[in-house]
């Protein structure tokens, strides 16, 4: 599904040049669950942003489903993103002004899905995530675990092929964290490819493969399954 080769990303300010990704190369196959680990500043988040088409690489190649996307313009990236990729963030990133239902509905709105179908699909996914009873609540009225379940629901509502998770359990206690990891595992078992950035060895063990990064490069790959 994903093939990256010699991927580069350099951040420049007036005085300092920081190499975030240094000729990074790896592949992710369909249906895989990959954990990316490494110390702070090793380039994990930069990688995730590029994989999520939120950021441009400065060099190298990035094939998404066989299509070169490294230099797509904003419109094309947005289009590819909304059809294929779901995001789960450490800090949940729900919109405070929207209810649980409306937050989950948002990706479908941007996909142009009709109102009745939207309702059906949102309810189905809320049911699956067991937060149907909270559909009319606002994010601030939910616990951290519940918020992350909403975030996962939002990430999967448009049936993406790929879910990018950025430390999805970072803000959760261990029991809520385990629940979220369980959810991701289930999704993966149903065929969704997952790439997860994490600091937690515990969480990483849910994956099939761990990619360890340092200074913008992969240092080791452990295959768990």
């Amino acid at each position: 599904m994903i093939k990256i080769k010699d991927l580069e990303k350099i951040y420049r300010t007036e005085e300092v040049e920081t190499v975030a990704l240094n000729k990074l190369t790896f592949n992710v196959n369909d249906g895989e669950f990959v954990a990316v680990m490494g110390p702070s500043g090793c380039g994990k988040s930069t990688l995730l942003n590029i994989l999520g088409l939120l950021d441009d690489p400065d060099g190298g190649s990035f094939l998404f489903n066989g299509i070169e996307v490294a230099h797509f313009n904003e419109r094309k990236r947005a289009d590819l993103r909304k059809r294929n990729i779901g995001f789960v963030f450490q800090s949940f990133n729900l919109i405070d002004e929207l209810t649980v239902f409306e937050n989950v509905e948002l990706p479908l709105i941007y996909l142009g899905v009709k109102g009745t179908e939207r309702k059906e699909r949102v309810e189905k996914v809320l049911d699956k995530m067991q937060i149907m009873h909270r559909r009319n609540h606002y994010p601030q009225q939910l616990s951290g675990g519940q918020q992350q379940r909403v975030a996962v629901a939002r990430a999967v509502v448009n049936n993406p092929k790929l879910i990018l998770a950025d430390e999805p359990t970072g803000n959760l206690d261990s029991s809520n964290g385990n629940e979220v990891m369980q959810l991701l595992t289930e999704l993966n078992e149903q065929g969704t490819t997952i790439i997860m950035v994490t600091h937690s060895e515990h969480d990483a063990r849910y994956s099939h493969r761990i990619i360890r990064m340092l200074d913008g490069q992969t240092v080791t790959e452990n295959i768990l399954v």
Binding site: D55, R81, R83, E97, E102
Partner: protein, 791 residues
């Protein structure tokens, strides 16, 4: 998607109540002011538009010795002669003579000031609809009268009751009510309460004397008539009828035509005292409205942009979830339009609430026609334009965020954005300071005019108009009886009180070959004494010199100077009014200049002569007992003019009347200046809140490190007040320039003192400082633990 945007917008409004309040309040005030001005301008430009034949109606104007401003006053014979001589061009001519008459019904009598004596075609030519009666025939019979709805109710209780009833006019005519007209709308240059056939007066003395002037002539031209060509033929017309007079008096008269629609915006003067509008006032109002709305828009732009930081997560997320930039641009513009719509709805309410007050300031009733299209077009226009204007910058600014940065909350409003915001604040406060300067200067000028030594005594002087036959016929008795009263200091009868009417005449003067033009006052011997004017050379009129009536004049210092004499040299020279005097008169004295004209006009040459022409009596009361003095005047008046209600005013009240439009500008400008600075400060308050929030942590760290509350307040205020300071620097010279220009309107002007500018600067700065400090102090005294915990 739209529903989602609307929801987000609404919840955002509700969530940030303070920001919403600042925005909505500012915009509501701005839009309300705009609507008020819009209604005013609509009304000004709609004057006489309701006249269906208006396109072909012209008012005949008479030029005088190529004086810059022609007058609309003509005499009786013009209209029939014009109709007769220009049959091909002039379809109809209607004379309109404004008059002031006594009307009696039963035991009640009224001195009516808005009476029109007109030809019978009046209601045919002009579109003043009759509620009852037939427009074509209502004035056919000389013994008829048409009342307006209000007058009908005043005299007879109801409209229906009035028809067919009889009113007595000037104790002379019995007139039958043959029609009831709708009240004259405020957007008409003509204004009357009753219309009487002019036929009753065509045999009066002087009515048919060509050179006299007392009435307006309106003509209806044929469709095909070429106005310029017709005007060219007027030269011969004037020679035919006025040639003799022109030669005799050394005058040159011309005739011209003013289209009905243009009459209203012709300059007002004592030679054309119908209702006039002033395009400068319209322009000033318009600019102020736009400026205030701009200030409100800037608040919106600034506050939305800084709020962007709080909404960056939302923007980032929407982008991650697939929103394109234009989705977001439209979302934010949509929010802006929503806010503007809410403000518009509130403005309509506020406007309705303020209308009575506004009408009072304007001095007439504006008619808001809620069923007319323009007002809705205006509202929709405001929503769209203000919505876009206020929403576009935040929209493009917000939508340009990189989603990664936005999500991480690492968003920085770049230096450019901050500069832009500061520039906007500079614009806001420049406008505010400018308006404050304007207000102070206008107030200063008005009080200068009010307190200026006018060169005559205006205190305790009562004005009684000699405006009916009884008082006119008995004016000498009236004067004599008052002079014998112990409460009265002196009485003088004259043609015009200071600030009133001073006609232009041509004179032959000793040692001057050309006719010389001067203003005239025709007055009795008590004129100088009653007004307390100073004689600087020669002597006053005196009953010890009986020939003074026929042989003497006084002139003012300016007249002497214009004739090239010192006051002393002027005494003894001869002068002759080419129109009024049969013989030469001697200048027996020179008076010090006194401001007999408005202070907007320069001092002019004045000749004071005892010729006939008594239009007003000035009664100087003895100090101490004003009430007894007025009672005495009333008593005598009621004896000599039994049927007429006694009416009077004070000479020192003349001020308010003379400078009515300036005083009106003063009031409106003061209100608007306050509103402008209020809205600007609302915005500044918003910015201060934002800064305090943004620097919450910094303040905490500084306090932990030992900074005092005072230091922090200074730290926060400094940055916010910088644009206010720059604005002041910009507005001061602009204000100086603009007000210097405004003062050019006045011949006598106050100085543009330095303190005005310092005061304006201090006021603005003080208000801004208070606004900012409220927030800064609150932030500075907060417990630093709170701010540091948030990390």
């Amino acid at each position: 998607m739209f529903k989602n945007y609307l929801k987000t917008a609404w919840r955002n409004l509700m969530k940030n109540k303070m920001f919403s309040l600042i925005n909505i309040l500012g915009l509501t005030i701005g839009i309300t002011v705009c609507m008020m001005i819009f209604l005013f301008i609509m009304n000004e430009f709609s004057v006489d538009n309701f006249q269906t034949k208006g396109k072909n109606i012209y008012r005949v104007m008479r030029g005088f010795n190529n004086a810059s401003q022609p007058t609309p006053y003509l005499s009786g014979p013009y209209a029939p002669a014009l109709l007769n001589d220009f049959r091909d061009d002039i379809k109809q001519a209607v004379r309109v003579m404004p008059s002031n008459d006594l009307f009696v019904v039963g035991n009640t009598s009224f001195n009516e000031k808005k009476v029109y004596l007109t030809d019978s075609g009046f209601f045919d030519l002009f579109s003043f609809p009759l509620i009852l009666g037939n427009a074509a025939t209502a004035l056919k019979n000389p013994n008829s009268i048409v009342l307006t709805e209000t007058s009908a109710k005043k005299y007879f209780g109801s409209v229906n009751n009035a028809m067919g009833k009889v009113v007595e006019m000037d104790k002379q005519f019995q007139l039958k009510v043959t029609g009831i007209a709708k009240d004259v709308p405020s957007n008409s240059h003509m204004d009357f309460d009753m219309v009487v056939p002019i036929e009753n007066f065509t045999h009066d003395d002087g009515f048919n004397v060509w050179i006299n002037n007392r009435l307006f002539v309106y003509v209806l031209l044929n469709e095909h008539t070429n106005v310029a060509a017709l005007e060219k033929k007027f030269g011969a017309f004037m020679m035919k009828y006025m040639g003799h007079d022109m030669q005799q008096y050394g005058l040159h008269f011309t005739l011209s035509l003013t289209p009905l629609k243009k009459i209203y915006f012709e300059p007002a003067s004592e030679f054309d005292n119908i209702k006039h509008g002033d395009k400068t006032v319209v322009l000033i109002f318009l600019s102020i409205a736009v400026l205030i709305l701009l200030i409100a828009c800037i608040n919106f732009m600034n506050l939305s942009t800084i709020r962007a930081v709080e909404r960056s997560k939302e923007v980032g997320l929407r982008k991650v979830l697939g929103a394109l930039r234009n989705h977001l641009v439209w979302q934010f513009i949509g929010e802006s339009i929503l806010l503007t719509t809410i403000s518009c709805i509130l403005s309509v309410g506020l406007l309705l609430f303020l209308m009575p007050w506004y009408n009072q300031i304007l001095g007439y009733s504006l008619t808001v026609s809620w069923n007319a299209l323009p007002i809705y077009l205006f509202l929709i226009g405001v929503i769209v334009i203000v919505g876009f204007l206020a929403g576009s910058y935040p929209a493009f600014f917000l939508s340009a965020f990189s989603p990664i940065q936005a999500l991480k909350g690492k968003l920085r409003i770049g230096k450019g954005g901050s500069l832009f915001r500061q520039a906007l604040v500079v614009v806001q406060f420049s406008i505010s300071v400018f308006l404050i300067i304007g207000t102070i200067i206008i107030i200063k000028q008005m009080s200068y005019v009010k307190s200026k030594q006018l060169g005559y005594n205006k205190e305790q002087v009562v004005i009684v108009r000699i405006d009916n036959n009884d008082i006119f016929n008995n004016k000498t008795v009236f004067k004599k009886q008052l002079q014998n009263n112990s409460n009265i200091a002196s009485v003088s009868l004259m043609s015009g009180e200071p600030g009133g009417f001073f006609d232009d005449f041509n004179f032959d003067v000793e040692g001057h070959n050309e006719p010389w033009k001067a203003r005239t006052e025709f007055a009795d011997f008590e004129f100088v004494k009653t007004l307390g004017i100073k004689i600087i050379a020669g002597r006053d009129f005196s009953s010890q010199f009986p020939t003074d009536t026929t042989d003497a004049v006084l002139i003012n210092r300016t007249a002497a100077a214009k004739l090239g004499w010192t006051p002393e040299q002027a005494v003894g020279k001869w002068i002759q009014n080419k129109f009024r005097d049969d013989n030469k008169r001697r200048i027996i004295g020179v008076v010090e200049d006194f401001n007999f004209l408005s202070l907007k006009e320069n001092m002019d040459a004045l000749v004071i002569a005892p010729n006939d022409d008594r239009r007003v009596a000035l009664v100087k009361l003895k100090p101490g007992n004003i009430q007894a003095g007025i009672a005495a005047v009333k008593d005598v008046y009621n004896k000599v003019a039994t049927a007429y209600p006694f009416e009077y005013s004070f000479l020192d009240q003349k001020f308010d009347e003379l400078y009515k439009s300036d005083l009106r500008q003063q009031t409106i400008l003061s209100v608007f200046a306050c509103l402008a600075i209020f809205i600007a400060c609302l915005g500044l308050f918003g910015l201060a809140s934002f800064t305090a929030t943004k620097r919450f942590k910094e303040i905490g760290v500084r306090k932990v490190l030992g900074s005092s509350v005072q230091n922090i307040v200074i730290l926060l205020s400094k940055d916010l007040l910088k644009p206010v300071l720059i604005a002041t620097c910009i507005a001061l010279p602009v204000g100086y320039w603009a007000m210097d220009k405004w003062l050019q309107n006045f011949a006598y002007k106050t100085s543009l003192s330095w303190w005005v500018f310092v005061l304006a600067a201090l006021l603005t700065f003080g208000i801004a400082l208070i606004t900012v400090s409220v927030k800064a102090v609150k932030a500075a005294v907060a417990n630093p633990v709170k701010s540091l915990r948030s990390e």
